[in-house]
């Protein structure tokens, strides 16, 4: 009998540096910028409040919602526990149905594969424009695929309305589901007028900022693009290991156009998007729409399995993207972040996201899930990534909203410890650690705590100097960030002293 000594313990690699997962600024700095943008804050508050109400209403309609969440959580945990085996099963099933599976270690590799495949497909149509259409996909935003296409002389057209607005606005998405959530309709009209040269012909009476009119303008433009496109790029919401079926759910139908009209379809999917069996979709197709758009059912649910001669794309490629995911999987305390089905419910209930918006997170995954997923994918070695786990008051609203019960607050706390350890020697963190150690030392002995409590009453002196006997309105050092907007009460004798004075002990 042989003894299995385990696999070699080289840590799996982090996401590649070309990915859109890491900001350049730390969260507090980036947030300070967006917090001053009143328009952005109004747009966000309006949008998140509306969707929160809608979600709460449709969730309340489902009597077994909590059981569904438990089922979703269990299915995802099971999938992660045997991910390698299920991925191989998926590969075999896709191949058997005429698809081709590619494995990409990181963003660069995925982009290279996709651009090469698309280029080869376009070469077969020398007269056609060098362009592809895209269904909204987080994975290709993560890899910055559009930039790779541009470098290769290929134009990528986003077809999701919100994604199109972001693309035309030369902007970055700020929400998983509604990338243009930070824009209002007046701003969208301005973008269209600027970026759609033929909009005046289409709307001789002039383009208004009515949602219906704006949608019509986008639709006319997109329809022409769909009819000529030879190649489409999609993401995937789910992949069924058992059957090799891929699925995209969406609300506009533009995704279905991309999935059915072009000759070649290339799907890029994070390796975690897997479900074991067809029957498992039942759970997720109930959880997802109610959590994300507050709808009972998804308007468009497209599914395809390999290729079908004479119907739909005749060439199908599936690119399985790792880009740091196996690294997340290797951490038992953090891996539940891979359970995410990208519904965005956690963003919509997050008070921090509501006020700072998506750009402050510096990653394609903003909000609570971004604050745990992005730093896990990239590692917490730089300041921007290390600041993300702290971008939360730990209020826990995200956990309650999450349809697959990802305990985001606990993962945030776990990632904070990682960030603290990774930066233990940095100058700015030394003072914090010393402060924490001092407080811990005081708390280790009630006599020391008591002494500190007595000393803290000296604050009363400072308060009197500031003109109020009972509170401080100005503190030096790091305390300034508190007193900029808040007073601090002056300690007036501890509970311990009272207890003793009463002769109770």
């Amino acid at each position: 009998m042989t003894t299995f000594l385990g696999m070699p313990a080289a840590p799996p690699p982090p996401a590649s540096s070309g990915s859109h997962l890491r900001g350049t600024d730390s969260f507090p700095h980036a947030a300070a910028r967006t917090l001053t943008d009143d328009q952005l804050r109004r747009n966000l508050a309006h949008a998140t409040t509306t969707i929160r109400g809608k979600r709460a209403r449709v969730v309340a309609e489902v009597p077994d919602w909590e059981e569904l969440r438990l089922a979703g959580e269990a299915l995802k945990a099971d999938t992660m526990a045997r991910l390698p085996e299920l991925l191989e099963q998926l590969e075999a099933a896709v191949t058997a149905r005429g698809g081709v599976v590619h494995w990409a270690r990181d963003a660069e590799e995925a982009n290279r594969i996709v651009v090469d495949l698309a280029g080869a497909a376009l070469d077969r149509h020398p007269q056609a424009a060098r362009e592809v259409v895209k269904v909204k996909s987080m994975a290709t935003q993560e890899t910055r695929l559009n930039d790779a296409f541009e470098a290769a002389g290929i134009t990528a057209h986003e077809t999701d309305l919100a994604e199109l607005i972001v693309q035309l606005g030369h902007d970055e998405g700020s929400h998983i589901l509604v990338p243009a959530i930070h824009r209002n309709r007046r701003e969208i009209r301005e973008i269209f007028l600027r970026e759609m040269p033929d909009v005046d012909e289409l709307f001789p009476e002039g383009l208004t900022d009515e949602p219906r009119v704006l949608a019509e303008a986008a639709r006319l433009r997109l329809r022409r693009t769909f009819l000529r496109a030879k190649v489409a790029i999609s993401g995937a919401n789910f992949a069924v290991a058992e059957t090799g079926t891929l699925s995209v759910v969406e609300s506009e139908g533009n995704g279905r156009m991309c999935l059915t009209l072009p000759e070649t379809l290339i799907t890029v999917m994070g390796v975690e998007k897997l479900v074991p069996t067809w029957a498992d979709l039942e759970v997720f197709l109930q959880l997802l729409p109610r959590s994300s758009t507050g709808e009972r059912m998804n308007p468009y649910t497209s599914m395809w399995t390999g290729v079908t001669p004479g119907d739909g794309p005749q060439e199908f490629h599936l690119v399985l993207l790792d880009n740091g995911r196996s690294r997340v999987l290797a951490d038992p305390r953090g891996r539940a972040a891979l359970h995410c089905i990208r519904c965005s419910a956690c963003l919509n209930v997050c008070p921090v996201y509501e006020r700072t918006g998506g750009h402050a997170y510096g990653s394609v995954y903003p909000g609570p899930i971004g604050a745990v997923l992005s730093p896990q994918l990239t590692g917490v070695t730089d300041d921007a990534s290390a600041s993300l786990p702290f971008a939360s008051s730990l209020c826990g609203a995200c956990f309650d909203a999450c349809p697959v019960r990802i305990d985001i607050p606990s993962i945030l706390v776990h990632m904070r410890a990682q960030a603290v350890d990774a930066h233990a020697r940095d100058v700015d963190h030394v003072a914090e650690r010393a402060g924490m150690a001092t407080v811990a030392w005081l708390f280790r002995d009630p006599r020391r705590l008591r002494l500190a409590q007595r000393l803290s009453r000296l604050a009363g002196l400072l308060a009197r100097l500031q003109g109020h006997p009972r509170h401080l309105s100005w503190l030096p050092g790091p305390g300034r960030s508190w007193t900029r907007t808040r007073d601090l009460p002056v300690p007036r004798g501890s509970f311990r002293d009272w207890w003793e004075k009463e002769g109770r002990s």
Binding site: L35, V420, Q453, R486, D487
Partner: protein
């Protein structure tokens, strides 16, 4: 019943009235309150700031202190531990065993679980353990209640505080718009992300003011420190009508015999 009080480090140091009110309230209901003086802090701040190893001795201290209070020895005999804080109760329940386990001390983890099972937030103790919702309080003020995130989502106290408040004599309880949204405190979050925290606080304060309440109450001294700090700053522009922050225990402790200003001071 004999009840051991964990007063929490923050209430002990800057809001002693919370502990005093808890003692008065429970004694008025005919219970005996003991305060084990070896207690200090539940360690939540260290865990949440990314220093779980520093929290380990604090967890051990909590477990040892209240094991003794709940035990049979001369310092024992308590049947439950009461905490006038949803946040610290949540930490005891959800973090203590985990901190011990991360440090490889499974024996301590098991003991922490046993103590946590007998640790109750104040409203839980009253409603579930002592079986009272009408504690005989008198508080003739317009009050709005902020449920605090950790009471709601970590300790899961549900609407017990509201059940208790509704039974208070003379009270005019008004609903707080957006009650379940965080006030932006979050421990070190208030300092590390001061701008975001202040934006959240500003919205919370205007929701509180919109109710016309004289008092905003909550079950956590920490959130009240934040709300009180924001309202106190606001009062410099708004003047005397600005609501004050008062802990749930103080409202429940006050009676007709008290002069309101003394109790709520």
């Amino acid at each position: 019943m004999r009840i051991a009080l964990f007063v929490t480090c923050l209430a002990d140091t800057v809001a002693p009235e919370v502990g005093v009110a808890t003692v008065r309230l429970l004694e008025r209901l005919g219970h005996e309150v003991v305060f084990p003086p070896e207690q200090t802090c539940c360690g939540q701040m260290h865990v949440n700031s990314g220093y779980p190893a520093m929290a380990l001795p604090l967890v051990r201290r909590y477990v040892e202190t209240f094991e003794r209070a709940l035990g049979e020895g001369p310092d024992g005999g308590a049947e439950a531990v009461v905490v006038p804080s949803g946040s610290c109760t949540g930490s005891v329940r959800h973090q203590h065993a985990d901190v011990a386990e991360q440090a490889g001390d499974t024996a301590l983890a098991a003991r922490a679980r046993a103590v946590a099972a007998r640790t109750f937030e104040l409203s839980e103790l009253l409603v579930d353990v002592l079986g009272v919702t009408d504690v005989g309080a008198w508080y003739p003020h317009r009050v709005t209640y902020h449920p605090t995130c950790h009471s709601l989502r970590m300790a899961r106290v549900g609407d017990r505080p509201l059940q208790l408040l509704r039974a208070v004599g003379g009270i005019d309880l008004v609903e707080l718009p957006g009650a379940e949204q965080c006030c932006g405190f979050g421990g070190t979050f208030a300092v590390k992300n001061a701008d975001t925290s202040s934006a959240m606080l500003a919205d919370k304060c205007s929701a509180i003011c919109s109710t016309g309440a004289e008092v905003v109450s909550a079950g956590d001294a920490s959130c009240l420190l934040h709300l009180g700090g924001g309202l106190s700053r606001l009062s410099t522009t708004r003047g005397d009508g600005t609501p004050r922050a008062v802990h749930l225990a103080e409202i429940l402790a006050s009676t007709r015999a008290d002069r309101p200003e003394r109790v709520t001071g």
